[in-house]
Symmetry: C2
Subunit: 711 residues, 2 copies
């Protein structure tokens, strides 16, 4: 008996002390898991024998059932390998490879009646994903999270592209610094943003993009954020240790868990090539396939809108009335028209005409519905009803007019973050859309949330956004959310949640401007989680054109074209005013041509904060589009065409910055050149400071290619 017992102890010790190790399919990455003193779980991650994450804690602290971060023994470990492919409904690639080695560790707490949790690690060639799982069991049914204790102990004082940790907004400008420099830069980085709630201790947001001194790129984010708060990262600027910091709710709790449950995946994308970071599909692979049975109604959307004029023209307004204190119960026909309302029948018809003429799918109309006179800043619950148009917006007439031209109107549901009001009215709002032929909605969450005390990135609001997406699907409606929590690949699971803003987008070009490097960072940060409705396409970049101020969009015109390729989204806006496109019809042709959905994507060059060059093949077509951008520095992009079918010539139309162009000098000067290219061609393309290049590549018949220079 005693022998048996010793044997048992020995086995247990073996399990306890021997670290569990898996490698990525290509062997470059190594994940090690072990229990340390007091049964505390640790993991570490290495890449080609370099430490990416030094040994770091794992676990959850609760408010009610004791710690789920210590006192563990290993009950069981399992390994598995998966290598398959799947096809997204829309995406950067027709086919995505899902190839990983998995380690599933079951940890039990002997002093807690053997209750157990699991930690599941999936190690891909492009990085690591892991999550906590809480299986259904008698000893663990409900618990309240005090904090997640996931560590990310970095191996050095890396360069980091960061925005301040915040519970409510992602709309910060990026700061680039060493980790150790974050404290001294935090105050300056915490610029004013609506409804911001910066985290009190030192923290940054994810996706957090880093680069080590020896050239390793590390990106920390999360995947499949469902029924859980979003994660920020606490930062220790001395040890370079980061750790999870969940968004609290109104009473300070961080999450409510009912087993069977799991956390989102914590993701660490790693490579010594920056282009591999952008090419990573790890986050999408960690999300669940959609359960929607019919997805035929989910389609790319290229749209224009009654929108930019609200920011630049200085005369157009969302609001209809002069009054600044209105209620939904008011009779809005009795308001005094302010004379500047944007969403009028006439203006919308003009936009529909333009959209129809140039092949756009939809026209976004903001400011169509009552309530805009004092929609913001009053923490007002009953702020919009989503079904009552202003007196000068005739829904039935405009819907019929749009339908007759083959164009959709894109609905706008600004909620002013009064999420309870929106949920209460959601079915009626979507029914109204369906009744009037709308098939997509831009949602907005400007301001402090209601339920009061909740945050944009907390569990309640996370569930809200998903509730909206799922309910929209019941009505076959696509959702483009603004100011919602940053995306985590959920567009795989809820493909009608077609795009999000959730970062500092083009609108800020009219409100202080974006740094020329901004859009070279976004693909490495915000876009790691999913498509962004960046609303590019601003041709009239000098906004003093409209008669006031000296504000400008800090890019060349051509860089705005390049965004349609560098910023992946199946929903893309041509954000400028129709009359500005009319002034540059040749450049506008690129926006009209460019695809939104792709068979394949080729990240050719990239360095966060400096430049990005991407080529993509249009879905189901022999057409390719290339976008290259640079920061404030001129550079020469190297564009290769090796993805083209071999031995055949194609017509490339190159939209390039003029020689004397830059973001602040002659930004509207460009050249458009047609050349012949084949798979062996290489283009050395100069980009202006704050500039870019955009290229469309099509099959040309003899007539078209005749006389074209070969590249």
């Amino acid at each position: 008996m005693r022998k048996l017992f010793l044997l048992f102890i020995a086995c247990t010790l073996t399990l306890q002390l021997s670290a569990q190790v898996i490698t990525s399919p290509d062997k470059n990455l190594t994940l090690t898991f072990e229990l340390r003193d007091n049964g505390v779980p640790y993991y570490k991650l290495g890449y080609k024998n370099k430490p990416v994450i030094k040994p770091s804690r794992l676990g959850i602290e609760t408010n009610d059932v004791g710690s789920l971060a210590e006192g563990f023994t290993i009950e069981d470990t399992k390994q598995a390998s998966v290598n398959n492919t799947w096809e997204p409904i829309m995406g950067e690639q027709k086919t995505i490879r899902n190839n990983y080695n998995e380690l599933l560790v079951t940890l039990k707490q002997p002093e807690q009646k053997n209750r157990f949790i699991r930690i599941r690690f999936r190690l891909f060639n492009d990085g690591l994903g892991f999550r906590y799982e809480f299986p259904k069991q008698d000893e663990l049914k409900y618990f309240v999270i005090k904090e997640e204790q996931t560590g990310f102990n970095l191996a050095g004082d890396h360069k980091i592209f960061w925005i301040p940790g915040d519970y409510d907004t992602n709309e910060y400008a990026y700061t680039t610094s060493k980790i150790s420099e974050i404290p001294s830069l935090m105050e300056k980085a915490t610029i004013d943003v609506h409804a911001q709630v910066p985290i009190k201790n030192l923290a940054v947001q994810t996706p957090s993009m880093m680069k080590t001194s020896d050239g390793l790129y590390i990106n920390i984010h999360e995947a499949a954020l469902i029924n859980y708060p979003a994660m920020n990262l606490n930062v220790d600027p001395k040890t370079f240790a980061m750790s999870s910091h969940l968004t609290p709710d109104a009473v300070g709790n961080k999450g409510y868990i009912q087993t069977d449950a799991q956390t989102p995946w914590r993701t660490i994308v790693v490579s010594d090539k920056a282009t591999d970071i952008l090419a990573s599909k790890l986050i999408l692979n960690l999300n669940e396939p959609t359960a929607y049975e019919d997805v035929s109604w989910i389609k790319p959307v290229k749209y224009i809108g009654v929108w930019w004029e609200y920011f630049v023209a200085g005369k157009s307004t969302w609001a209809y009335g002069k009054e600044t204190n209105v209620k939904l119960s008011d009779d809005f026909t009795k308001l005094t028209p302010n004379g500047t309302h944007g969403a009028t029948n006439e203006n919308v018809k003009r936009h529909i005409d333009f959209a129809a003429e140039h092949g756009f799918d939809a026209v976004l109309v903001e400011g169509w519905n009552i309530g805009w006179e004092d929609w913001f800043g009053n923490w007002k619950e009953e702020v919009f009803d989503f079904v009552t148009p202003y007196p000068d917006f005739d829904v039935k007439m405009l819907s019929a007019y749009a339908a007759s031209k083959g164009v959709k109107i894109m609905m706008h549901h600004e909620t002013s973050s009064s999420a309870t009001n929106y949920e209460r009215r959601l079915d009626k709002a979507f029914q109204f859309m369906q009744d009037n032929g709308y098939n997509s909605v831009k949602t907005g969450y400007v301001g402090k949330p209601i339920p009061r005390g909740e945050h944009h990135d907390g569990q309640w609001m996370v569930n809200h956004y998903i509730h909206v997406a799922k309910t929209a699907a019941d009505y076959k409606i696509m959702v483009n959310s603004h100011e919602a929590v940053r995306p985590t690949g959920l567009h795989r699971t809820y493909p009608n949640w077609i795009a999000q803003e959730s970062a500092r987008g083009t609108e800020f070009e009219a409100m202080g401007g974006l740094a020329p490097e901004h859009a070279t960072i976004l693909p490495f940060t915000r876009l790691m989680g999913g498509p962004m409705d960046y609303t590019p396409g601003i041709f009239q970049t000098d906004l003093s054109y409209y008669g006031t101020g000296n504000q400008r969009v800090n890019t060349t015109l051509v860089k705005q074209l390049a965004y349609y390729v560098t910023m992946y989204s199946p929903l893309q806006m041509a954000a400028d005013l129709p009359e500005n496109y009319a002034r540059f019809p040749d450049a506008f042709q690129f926006i009209k041509d460019v695809a939104l959905d792709w068979d394949d994507t080729y990240v050719q060059e990239a360095e966060p904060g400096d430049y990005v060059t991407i080529a993509r093949k249009a879905k189901g077509k022999n057409e390719w589009y290339v976008g290259g951008i640079t920061d404030e520095n001129a550079r020469t992009a190297t564009v290769r065409f090796d993805y083209l079918p071999k031995g055949k010539n194609y017509v490339a139309t190159i939209y390039a910055d003029a020689k004397d162009a830059s973001w602040n000098q002659n930004p509207q000067k460009y050249t458009i050149t047609k050349v012949q290219v084949n798979s062996k061609s290489v283009l050395k393309q100069p980009l202006a400071p704050g500039g870019g290049v955009a290229i469309s590549i099509k099959e040309g018949n003899k007539q078209e290619t005749k006389g074209l220079k070969k590249l």
Copy 2:
């Protein structure tokens, strides 16, 4: 010019210094308003030259726009008189007189750019109502309430019937004491109630019933609680000063106001007769008439239910499955049936049969829908979906079966206080009801609210209940809410909000018991605000009958009959099990006969904490019903019949406690006697300790009256 200025000053001073006085139409009540030092508004109230409320402050403190409680000058005062009548859709009287003198004071703040508020006083013969009004103006658009500064400075150490101040529950037992004794009794009074949040400083709830040493009855409550938090009363046990204490929200604010707006009415019902307090229609008069155009579908409801068996039988459960951790996404047909589920097809059909046989309108069925396995205590958001029945409850079959018998099933929507979940699903839930022939719903709010941090009695939840009532009206559904905020007469405005619980009701007879005096206090407290679904009619009062424990309902059987008259509600349950009614068919006849809607009401005797005797005339019928109850003491009720048409004899059926009956000895012993009565008859009816009397009075033909003793 200087002269003019002085004249202006003089006028202002006159307005400032001269108190404004109005009297009630019968001159018994006197209301005085004045501004004191620093422009602080005060009021006082007298009754027949006795002080009811000594000079007390008025005003609002805000969190954002400075004080609205001082710095005022009187801009204007207006007086008006109203004397008219109106007819409630259902009620204690066919016609209600609305007779008051009004003082409307406009107060401006010269140092705040002359922004202004109004205080409107309405002085009825039965008491005072006043409210704050915030007209729309450039200088006052939005503000956040820190606290309302309304004082109720009482004139002495009155006897008071009180429950502890609490933000979340009204389900306390009453304590009777002097005001000065409240501190020493508070701890004992604060018994355990689900989801209670007792107020930290000394406070009691309204309606607050008091009696002065010289026999004046004073009742403080509120009317028309809309878009505002419910009021508790801070208590100073030394000065007998009370003051408003509003229920805070999740972030500690007390209310969000957008002008044009007004507070609920603060009500002070006063009389030297206790019966006048019960007869007062002041609170109803201060509520707005309904805006519903069609009210034909709003009707009295007499119902039985699959309900009491959950409390007493010890074998029946709301839950269907043995499992104690379920999610709405689970397949409930896969649960292990616990064998004790109450809402089965068979049991519901049996209840429908009984209801049809005995003329009931409806059968409440609780526990019909999935989620009851762990519905409470986990602050769980997605707790019920309101549309998915358990596998053994066939909605379509039962709806058809009920319809074939002329009976409705009453829907049950327990929300577990997850109000956001309920709102999200509300339209679908009501559509489901409509599709299946339901026309009334019992809602429940057990547990801590979601949005988390909000309280049952805060502004958000107050708006929620009204939202539910209004949305229900869109579907022609009547609402009977349990655990909602205490009523304030809103059944006039939203008449489909037919009844509420909002106090310690019959269910507590099965959970510790109610004091025999409890139901003699409720009409003076909880019922001042509106009808109560008290769920009376328990015939089997000794609950050890069911085989366990020694719990008992602390009344005689006859007292349970009397409740149908003493507890006004157009919705009344016969709460006991059908098989218990079958054992006492002669007593059950009273429940079958008693009306729910009345032409007139005669409060004959009343003393809070001791006894209540009320007679009522059935709406549109020559039938009268009398209920008399006593506390733990035997007494002789004096029942008069002077409301009967003169010179005509009627048949009175008197349901009386047997001589040796009492609440704890022979509670089921009773006598039923038929006698002739006319308008001159007087009955001296002995009531047992914890007992009562119930009388039905009908026209009898010669055959029926023949041989009947004259009273």
